[in-house]
Symmetry: C2
Amino acid sequence: MSETEFGLAAVYRIIKKSGAERVSDEAAEELRRILELVAGQLAKQATELSVHAGRHTVKASDIKLAAKTILGEE
Amino acid sequence: MSETEFGLAAVYRIIKKSGAERVSDEAAEELRRILELVAGQLAKQATELSVHAGRHTVKASDIKLAAKTILGEE
């Protein structure tokens, strides 16, 4: 995924909320990059699961199973 | 994380980009929930790593090591 979808300010706030005193711009950019990578992997797997189930619509159950497969229990 | 940080439209676009014909609202909400959960886990680990390194600033290297630890190679 080359374009960014998530706002950098949102990612920055998430890191601050975790207790960080200061957050470098590069840290927020790196977390965004990783999250968009993970999002793409999960979305791709979920779409494959929906097709496998004979559907044209990606449902929450596809996302849940993709997360379980790729990330382990969530 | 109870508040949402990422826009639902952004999450929806990511799922569409993966080739989905249609995406249920619940699917986009579930992917957002999972991504914010992962983001919180990575941020917490990265902040701990920055403190461990004697810094007050979370850097990209903290995020990278947290992702490697929690998600495996990225």
